[in-house]
Amino acid sequence: MARFSSLHDAVAENIKDGDTVALEGFTHLIPFAAGHEIIRQQRKDLTLVRMTPDIIYDQLIGMGCARKLIFSWAGNPGAGSLHRFRDAVEHSVPHVLEIEEHSHAGMATRYQAGASGLPFGMLRGYAGTDLATITPTIKWVTCPFTGENLAAVPALRPDVGVICAQQADRDGNVMLWGITGVQKEAVLASRCSIVLVEEIVDKFSSHMNGVVLPSWVIDDVCVVPSGAYPSYAQGYSQRASAFYAQWETISKDREKFLTWMNEHVLATSDHAQFLASLDPKLLEDVNE
């Protein structure tokens, strides 16, 4: 059964230096608050996993928390580059970042294999690309029935999976809806999992594509209102596009980045304080 705990305690107890950690979210429901807490607790040598590393991974990389990144698309969609990620790959700043890159389909297949308890997954992909040459975790298998040559990718099994959901019930079951990405697979593939929720409800509401994860596959449930900010939680908030736009300037200059991280993450003790530290303009128009 899941425990209800503070985000501070959930991170302190479950995430250790050297762990493989997946903070998943596909534009929607990105667990920003958990990334900030990992930075506050100064975790090191993490292998970070994510299909779409965005600003929160830029921050983790820039603050020196990551040894390796396993990913398929690293960018700040519609707004620019992840300059801390680029600085790490292009100039080894703040230190060397090992990368292992796939396509989205390859990453999704790896999570599915992990969630299914299989050693690998397969897909029709990568043929003819240079990814197949530079990424050692892309190999080939022959279908025993048809003879077709297919790509094989190993299961992802993170030590810790972290996601956001909209709601938990009082038993610690959680529900997410809207764009649910690969979050269900990330939780089921991980050895242990933390779920951030907007609120606790007596009974879940009904949604077109609601995904419910039962309490007994989750370790910690943390109530963190707006925990996905500047990402969003459908039904609760809208994406803070202004935050994504301003990140280009902050991220570009390492000194500016460090000053920003000190002021807004290291000098704040939790997510509520983080939100309170921001320019109020960045919080306009995010309420749904």
Binding site: A74, E90, T109, T129, L131, G181, M208, N209
Partner: protein, 257 residues
């Protein structure tokens, strides 16, 4: 640079707008289109807002049949999930919908493209010590593999249209000819490259891209200079029809121009 639409002297347009309009024209109502981030998303939404209201837009975030009334800033924006016919998981969109062959057209952008429509979105320079680290593959490699056809749209320059890619992220026609058949790739691969200067189309058999039309006011020599390989010009090279007033109004109504 801006030009005037013949239908109305009051409406001028840019080469970028011409590119988006030309890309949108590749889509027809009923086409099922897997939409990439950036320029492709603008063009696909323009098609739906103008001549092809029945085009089915599919986003890799799991949104099937999205009908946004403004341009989504990202492929996972709430406007897509709230207007979609169905919202499904990311593993499902790639396995059941893309890989299973349910998509007619994949619409992709690129940092670099070569004469056979192969795409680089990974690095500029050497992979191990890149000059510029780009975002990477995303959904593109399997979109390029499995969609029936692929349309590529990007701005034309010698740095973007290159003789040799620094990295092959997504395969077009490899080294040409029957490359795709030899690799067993199910889709037909890229059929058009639409830029801010003109339209390149895939030549039968050789699978090399040749200049098929130039946008109004663009000289053929200008396109050749802006291409990093020796671009061949089709015998029947034409001039792209200029944007209509309706197309421009539709485009500007949702990009906020």
């Amino acid at each position: 640079m801006s030009r005037t639409s013949p239908a109305s002297k009051s409406l001028e347009w840019t080469n970028d707008e011409m590119m988006t309009v030309a890309a949108a024209r590749e889509l027809t109502s009923g086409t099922v289109c897997f939409v990439g981030i950036g320029l492709p998303s603008t063009a696909a939404n323009l098609a739906r807002a103008s001549h092809a209201p029945g085009v089915v837009l599919i986003y890799e975030s799991g949104c099937i049949g999205a009908k946004p009334d403004r341009l989504p800033p990202s492929i996972g924006d709430g406007i897509l999930s709230r207007t979609a016919d169905a919202v499904i998981s990311v593993p499902e969109i790639f396995a059941y919908w893309l890989q299973a062959g349910r998509i007619d057209i994949g619409f992709l952008g690129a940092a670099q493209v070569d004469r056979f429509g192969n795409i680089n979105t990974t690095v500029v320079g050497d992979y191990g010590s890149p000059q510029v680290r780009l975002p990477g593959a995303g959904g593109a490699p399997e979109i390029a593999t499995s969609c029936s056809k692929v349309i590529i749209t990007l701005r034309h320059s010698p740095r973007a249209m290159v003789e040799k890619l620094d990295f092959v992220t997504s395969v077009g026609h490899g080294d040409g000819g029957d490359f795709r058949a030899r690799l067993g790739l199910p889709g037909m691969g890229p059929q058009a490259i639409i830029t801010d200067l003109g339209i390149l189309r895939c030549e039968a058999e050789s699978c090399e891209f040749v200049l098929s039309s130039v946008h109004p006011g663009v000289e053929i020599s200008q396109v050749l200079e802006a291409t990093g390989w020796t671009l061949r010009v089709a015998d029947d090279v034409s001039v792209t029809a200029p944007p209509t007033v309706e197309e421009l109004r539709a485009l500007r109504s949702f990009v906020g121009a």
